[in-house]
């Protein structure tokens, strides 16, 4: 035991005698581990945000968007125009048993003015089911009424970001703002919801009656999509099927024709996003992993050089009684110390890097202990693997030859 501890100290001394070389050797491991930590933390951060998103948006949410449609033989892009109508939305809620709520959604974007402040944002037109479908309540003031919807009143509810930017902390409820040169009355402010899984600020929005957006802003009669809430998360798939059947029937689509709309389910969307995210994380992590292996090869290379360079030292140690095992242990320890120190520094640098990334680019990151544990133990394993062969080589030197080595 004393022998092992002393040899570990000898190994430390040997490394500190060659500081520059030790640091450069560690650099490979540092970069490898750091990259793995940073990449995985970015990936996991995105995943966690998406999961939180599903939970907050309600995992039983679905939405119907217009599909591509053919006009004179030319397939138009998605969403260029819409076959979806307000009646479709009402029918979905009325006729599909698995659907609890359905609301039309009409989107517009415009600059919004209050006093000398202005802000460019998007305006989403819903009916009064918005809070139930989006699981998003009004924090201050009230939501608009069915009366407001039928009479297309110019009333609106501000997202937190819009409220902060136009009113700078003052209470917007009851104030009048101007959208496209028309006065709108602010009747409420939404709860803050934060970033979406795609990194968008969800609070940068204004909610208004869909009728007002249709008639007073856009001058259209169709709607952009139908937002639906199924009775439960399990009922999402049933709801999806029921909506598809109903809309095909309502749009007179024959059996041979494709749907002119798409029904999507938030949970599926999130899963899709999550999957692609996972693939991305895995890809980045494996590139980082390769650099970790390259770092390991660097350690091995330096250890081999070191064994050759220190042949005489090995001879001296053997002459005074070091066994092959003692010499092997010393060199193995040196390699492991390099790898572990590199690993620890890599963890620190990787964590710092992911913090900097999340602060400067606004990407969500999550430093996972699993990634830290895995990167660290892998660095240690690389140390052992990279040190094994050089250490073995050192232990097998012939003491007489080693002593004569110039």
């Amino acid at each position: 035991m004393i022998l092992l501890l002393t040899i570990i100290r000898v190994a430390f001394k040997a490394l500190s005698r060659n500081k520059m070389r030790s640091i450069l050797t560690m650099l490979g491991i540092i970069i490898g581990v750091g990259a793995v930590i940073a990449m995985v933390s970015i990936g996991q951060g995105a995943q966690q945000t998406i999961s939180a998103q599903i939970a907050s948006a309600g995992s039983n949410m679905l939405f119907v968007t217009p599909g591509s449609f053919t006009s004179g033989g030319v397939r138009m892009g998605l969403g260029t125009t819409s076959h979806l109508t307000v009646e479709d939305a009402l029918a979905v809620e009325r006729e599909c048993p698995a659907v609890k709520y359905a609301s039309p959604l009409v989107r517009a974007s415009s600059s919004v003015v209050y006093g000398n402040q202005n802000w460019f944002t998007n305006i989403q037109g819903y009916d009064t089911r918005f809070p139930q479908i989006r699981l998003w309540e009004v924090e201050k003031g009230t939501f608009f009424t069915d009366q407001d919807v039928t009479t297309a009143q110019r009333v609106c509810i501000l997202g937190k970001t819009v409220s902060d930017n136009l009113f700078a902390g003052a209470d917007p409820v009851g104030q009048e703002i101007r959208i496209r040169n028309m006065p709108w009355r602010v009747i409420g402010v939404l709860q803050a919801k934060g970033q979406s899984g795609m990194g968008q600020d969800q609070d940068d929005t204004i909610i208004a009656p869909y009728t007002t957006v249709q008639k007073k802003m856009l001058g259209i009669v169709f709607i952009n999509s139908i937002m639906v809430s199924a009775v439960s998360q399990e009922a999402s798939a049933t709801a999806q099927a029921e909506i598809t059947d109903l809309l095909r029937q309502r749009h007179h689509i024959t059996r041979s024709e494709d749907d002119d709309f798409q029904v999507r389910n938030l949970a599926d969307m999130a899963e899709l996003a999550n999957n692609s995210n996972q693939v991305m994380t895995l890809l980045l992590a494996s590139i980082a992993f390769v650099s970790l292996i390259v770092g390991g090869i660097g350690v091995m290379n330096i250890m081999l050089v070191s064994v050759t360079e220190r042949t005489r030292e090995i001879g001296i140690r053997m002459a005074v009684g070091a066994t092959g095992g003692d010499v092997q242990f010393q060199f193995l320890t040196e390699a492991i110390v390099l790898a572990i120190f590199g690993g620890v520094l890599g963890i620190i640098i990787g964590s710092a890097a992911s913090k900097i990334i999340s602060d400067s680019l606004g990407w969500p990151t999550l430093i996972s202990t699993t990634a830290i544990g895995a990167a660290f133990s892998f660095a240690a394993i690389i140390g052992i693997a990279a040190g094994w062969y050089p250490a073995r080589k050192a232990s097998r030197l012939d003491p007489i030859e080693a002593l004569r080595y110039e």
Partner: protein
């Protein structure tokens, strides 16, 4: 030229205790190196005994087999044939690891090129054998300091080799060889890299250790002057012992040094 001596006569000639157990008892040593197709027969049947308290010089031209013999006696290598009792233990058949233990406990080496670790202080060099004897740091430090004091370097224990003269470096090496209280001290051309005055100083240390501590010393040299500081000389040629005799006119390093003009600084 005298013929091969039997061990019994050797004892009588050198004045070592004939009733004691020899520290080194070598019988019929052969060593053959195979280098590709050629076989080099370095030792061709060496038998001899060395007793406690002896100071033996081994002489011979290069290629005479004296270095090979030294490596075998020092347990750095094993003979192709023959037996070797070191402190009554048969070491000819031991494994590499066991040989390392024997070197650690029973043998002290002093080399021509000093073979100290660079950038390592004198006391850290001296404590090296103690590390592999698994001794505690405190004890190691104490013993290495004592050993350095014994060779007159008590003031320089923190110096690194490059801060020391050749003679001082060789003293550090001697301290390292002594620190484990070995049964034998093997010195391979220890004065080969030193000027004549320093050489005599090193021989003085050897003579003192031999007299005061009854340390058994085996010295390999090709310089007759240096061999005359020993008590017994064994001549090697072509892998055989050609002569084995007591030194007739033994030189005493203390007297020689006294007769020299004072050292120039």
């Amino acid at each position: 030229m005298e013929s091969l001596q039997s061990p019994a006569t050797t004892n009588l000639k050198t004045g070592a205790d004939p009733n004691g157990v020899p520290v080194i008892k070598v019988e019929n040593f052969h060593k053959i190196y195979e280098m590709g197709d050629t076989r080099v027969h370095a030792l061709r049947g060496i038998s001899l005994e060395i007793y406690r308290g002896e100071f033996v010089a081994i002489m011979g031209a290069s290629g005479s087999g004296k270095s090979t013999f030294m490596n075998l006696v020092g347990c750095l290598d094993t003979p192709s044939e023959g037996t070797y009792l070191l402190d009554n233990t048969n070491v000819a058949l031991l494994s590499r690891t066991e040989l390392a233990r024997i070197r650690n406990q029973h043998v002290g080496f002093v080399f021509q090129g000093f073979n100290l670790l660079n950038r390592t202080s004198a006391w850290e060099n001296v404590e090296l054998p103690l590390i592999y004897a698994a001794m505690r740091a405190k004890e190691r430090h104490k013993l290495s300091r004592t050993a350095l004091q014994k060779v007159g370097l008590g003031e320089r224990i923190d110096h690194i080799p490059s801060q020391l003269s050749g003679g001082q470096q060789q003293r550090v090496a001697i301290a390292r060889a002594l620190v484990n209280h070995p049964s034998i001290l093997l010195a391979d051309e220890p004065t080969g890299n030193l000027d004549s005055r320093t050489s005599i100083e090193i021989m003085q240390i050897f003579q003192e250790l031999n007299e005061k501590e009854e340390l058994t010393i085996v010295l390999v040299t090709h310089e007759p002057d240096i061999a005359d500081y020993a008590k017994r000389i064994i001549y090697f040629r072509d892998g055989h012992v050609t002569r084995d005799e007591k030194v007739q006119k033994r030189r005493l390093a203390a007297d020689v040094l006294a007769s020299l003009p004072p050292a120039e600084e």
